[in-house]
């Protein structure tokens, strides 16, 4: 079974440029997460989707960050314009329905390392 797929793996851009990251979750996983991981730190949740709905975007800096999951499968995270402080790894994870009883394991993708010059 294929895992969570993310692309690109690496991205280098100049500040003020736009950038987009793509995530394809594990087939059948309704819940999708985007995390930000700064160098040497643990990941921090940016946004959580249940199907097409963003159910927790409280940590997403909405002035420059946006995300979408139009058909409830793939998702795109965008930054416009990028700033130097956005240099980090952006991780995508997916799980079965997070609202179901019990806790469903989150499976992580390899991440996209963004460097803003």
């Amino acid at each position: 079974e294929a895992g969570v797929v993310q692309s690109p793996r690496y991205k280098i851009i100049e500040k003020k440029q736009p950038v987009a990251f793509w995530c394809n979750p594990i087939s059948g996983h309704n819940t999708l997460y985007w995390y930000l991981q700064n160098l040497g730190q643990g990941p921090e949740l940016l946004i959580r989707y249940e199907n097409e709905e963003a159910v927790d975007d409280s940590q997403l800096p909405k002035d420059r960050f946006s995300a979408e999951r139009l058909k409830g499968v793939d998702s795109t995270l965008k930054i416009q314009p990028a700033e130097l402080g956005d240099s980090a790894v952006y991780l995508c994870a997916s799980s079965l329905d997070a609202v179901a009883s019990g806790y469903n394991e989150q499976f992580f993708g390899p991440g996209t390392r963004l460097t803003v010059l």
């Binding site: 819940t31 997460y33 995390y35 040497g40 730190q41 643990g42 990941p43 921090e44 949740l45 959580r48 159910v55 927790d56 409280s58 790894v89 991780l91 994870a93 799980s95 997070a98 609202v99 806790y103 469903n104 394991e105 989150q106 992580f108 993708g109 390899p110 991440g111 390392r113």
Partner: protein, 118 residues
């Protein structure tokens, strides 16, 4: 809000030896989950072990075991018979079971870099 603290930025161990990574957390909830994740240089975050707070018995997965002290809010990871492939960043993480918009959200600690020496 929940917080997770890992006080050991780096640890090292000789191959075949045992090492323990520490983690403390803070929460007002009674029902939650705790995890240890491994992140090797390839960046792929892998679940090592998980513990449900309502279970008194410590979780075990092969060479990995935890010491869960609910009253002390402590959750340490013991790796026995350390192998070179265990070299990675290890993260302790918390997830609520209380429902609501925070359900499913993982709160991570700062991580501990573990190096296994031959």
């Amino acid at each position: 809000a929940q917080t997770v603290t890992q006080s050991q930025p780096e640890m090292s161990v000789q191959e075949a030896e045992t090492v323990t990574l520490s983690c403390t957390y803070d929460t007002s909830e009674n029902n939650y989950y705790l995890f240890w994740y491994k992140q090797p240089p390839s960046r792929q975050m892998i679940l090592v072990i998980r513990q449900e707070a309502y279970k008194q018995q410590n979780a075990t997965e092969n060479r990995f075991s935890v010491n869960f002290q609910k009253a002390a809010k402590s959750f340490s990871l013991k790796i026995s018979d350390s192998q070179l492939g265990d070299t990675a960043m290890y993260f302790c993480a918390f997830a609520t079971n209380a429902g609501g918009t925070s359900y499913g959200k993982l709160t991570f600690g700062q991580g501990t870099i573990l190096t296994v020496h031959p």
